[in-house]
């Protein structure tokens, strides 16, 4: 069988103006291969990858013959195997890793297959991230979320631009625990998982992780009795600030305190809050590479 060659036009990925935008752009279509880690302002190039597709195809066909739970005739299994081998090198390994993980977790085989198939066309890191996130979100000794929530967030987190999976998972876990803690925010697990996911979209800006910055700005907002911010409002503003990078919390706090002090601007709490947000918005600036 001839080797498949894939031409990837990764295009130009700009990260920085919108972390969510980068997240969306980071999703590669099936059959395409991401070329290294994109960095701010760096232009990706057109790359040709040589694939040992025959090996991937053979492994896939053998898998379909051995896996009794998935009943496919030869023609169907060839077609499915071709879909897997289109993922280029290690495609079967990625597929199989995710399939086995879900199967051993008690997931319906057809559903396991459909989910695992998506990872055949992604890179190894994403399959690893998914497997790691799924275990740590789902299993009892970790976050112990229900299956659907764990699957959803493992899939979403595996798409995160942050390459340091340990850091990402640590942030996600700490955010969920802080958010659900009775002594802190006491919000529901589903709300907290979404909050943690939203915040971890910006984690690549925070070399030490985003949780400590979140905790700092959240506690500051809640401690300002003049503003009287509720938990949801404080959470919303904290998220808004953190999206502007690691300098944003400091910029916000400094501006707020400067604005509200009677010896300085002596603004009302609401005015001070809005001014702080405006300055925090200026915590990042995109710059053209020369």
């Amino acid at each position: 069988m001839e080797l498949l060659e894939k031409v990837v036009l990764a295009g130009i990925l700009f990260v920085g103006t919108s972390a969510l935008g980068a997240f969306e752009q980071g999703k590669l279509e099936q059959g395409k291969i991401e070329q290294g880690k994109t960095e701010q302002g760096r232009q990706a190039s057109k790359v040709i990858i040589n694939c040992q597709a025959a090996d991937e195809f053979k492994k896939a066909v053998e898998f379909f013959r051995a896996e009794n739970g998935i009943s496919l005739n030869d023609r169907q299994s060839f077609r499915e195997a071709l879909t897997i081998s289109a993922g280029c090198d290690h495609a079967f390994s990625r597929f199989f890793k995710v399939f086995q993980l879900l199967k051993k977790s008690g997931v319906d085989l057809n559903q396991s297959y459909n989910i695992a198939l998506k990872f055949a066309s992604k890179d190894d890191a994403k399959a690893e991230l998914f497997a790691d996130f799924f275990k740590k979100i789902y299993l009892e000794n970790y976050l112990n979320m229900d299956f659907s929530t764990a699957l959803k967030y493992a899939l979403l987190l595996s798409e995160n631009e942050e390459s340091d999976a340990e850091k990402l998972m640590k942030d996600f876990s700490q955010l969920v625990r802080f958010c659900t803690s009775e002594q802190e925010m006491a919000l529901s697990l589903s709300v907290c998982a979404q909050v943690a996911l939203d915040l971890t979209q910006h984690v690549q800006y925070y070399p030490e992780g985003i949780f400590s910055s979140f905790e700092k700005i959240y506690r500051f907002l809640r401690s300002q009795k003049q503003t009287g911010l509720s938990i949801p409002k404080a959470l919303q503003i904290a998220t808004q600030i953190l999206a502007k990078g690691p300098q944003a919390p400091e910029n916000f706090i400094k501006t707020f305190q400067f604005a509200i002090e009677s010896q300085s601007l002596n603004l009302s709490p609401t005015q001070a809050l809005n001014l702080g947000l405006s300055v925090a918005e200026q915590s990042q600036k995109s710059q053209e590479l020369k």
């Binding site: 051993k104 977790s105 008690g106 997931v107 319906d108 559903q111 275990k135 112990n144 229900d146 299956f147």
Partner: protein, 305 residues
């Protein structure tokens, strides 16, 4: 055949009501009036006999009456009790034959009139006792001082048998169809024929009450077994179903009767969703409402690596 004063009549009688046949005489009893029974005595006619003398006395020897009959058949009315009868021939010359031996004649009390009892009894068993109260009443029968009541189930098995000194009784019966037999008993112990009421009582099969669960099944964290209050006569059942994640196809993996008032799921269940159904059942009853518990079995980290 000439009349012979020394000759003894062959006095025979039969109780056509079904009481034991005496060896040498025939007597028939037939209820007449409210408390009197007609007794018919027969014997083999003697050609030379112009008439027959009959004597009736109580079992205790107290004379009741003397009769003369022209035929070898004689009827008299008697209250229920134990009697003795004897007879002798009398020729046209007035010569008397020998008395026969005393023959015992038992006149039983009248049996209960089945028409006096309600046509059918329909009842529904109660959930708390699993029994239905069944009031049974009948018209008292003449000289009867007691009644034996037999309750027989649909398989012909005696369920209960008791003696009541009243013409009523309150039964407690589980669901099913029952026949009733009532036998009148006179003071001296004589018993009437039974009054049989076939398929007289029908107790509807009601739904069993929902079992009282003391401790809900909970496998999150520390396992808490399903504990319930067990009632005698009930069978408690547990059905375990398994469903793979992202699927709605439940498969029964076990359905078993419980031998204790507690149940825990087996260890080492495969990962997936589980649904446990719990109910009680008993013959003749509709199963209690199903109680459900669902739980998720997650894999261990070591199983996924």
């Amino acid at each position: 055949m000439k009349a012979d004063a020394c000759r003894t009549l062959a006095l025979t009688y039969l109780l056509i009501t079904g009481l034991p046949v005496a060896a040498s005489a025939t007597a028939a009893t037939e209820s007449v009036g409210k408390s009197m029974t007609q007794v018919e005595v027969q014997w083999q006619a003697e050609p030379d006999a112009e008439s027959y003398q009959i004597e009736v006395q109580t079992k205790a020897g107290r004379a009741v009456k003397k009769f003369t009959s022209k035929q070898a058949l004689f009827r008299f009315r008697a209250k229920p009790g134990r009697y003795q009868i004897r007879a002798q021939t009398k020729t046209s010359e007035g010569r008397l034959g020998l008395w026969t031996d005393w023959v015992d004649v038992n006149v039983p009390p009248k049996r209960v009139d089945s028409q006096s009892i309600e046509r059918k009894i329909e009842a529904v068993a109660q959930g708390d006792t699993l029994l239905a109260p069944v009031p049974l009443a009948w018209t008292s029968s003449g000289a009867a001082t007691r009644y034996q009541v037999n309750i027989i189930d649909g398989l012909g098995k005696m369920v209960t048998s008791f003696v009541s000194d009243k013409s009523e009784a309150l039964l407690q019966l589980p669901p099913g169809t029952y026949s009733v037999e009532i036998v009148s008993i006179a003071e001296d112990g004589l018993r009437s024929k039974p009054t049989k009421l076939e398929n007289y009582i029908h107790i509807a099969a009601a739904t069993l009450p929902t079992p009282s669960v003391r401790s809900q099944l909970d496998i999150s964290g520390q396992l808490k077994a399903l504990d319930f209050d067990s009632k005698p006569g009930l069978q408690y059942m547990v059905r375990t179903e398994h469903c793979l994640l992202l699927s709605d196809e439940w498969k029964v993996i076990a359905s078993q009767p419980l031998t204790a008032a507690s149940w825990s799921p087996p260890a080492n269940l495969a990962p997936g969703k589980y649904r446990v159904g719990f109910w009680s059942e008993a013959p003749g009853w509709q199963n209690s409402a199903l109680q459900h518990w669902e739980f998720l079995v997650k894999p261990k980290l070591a199983d996924l690596n």
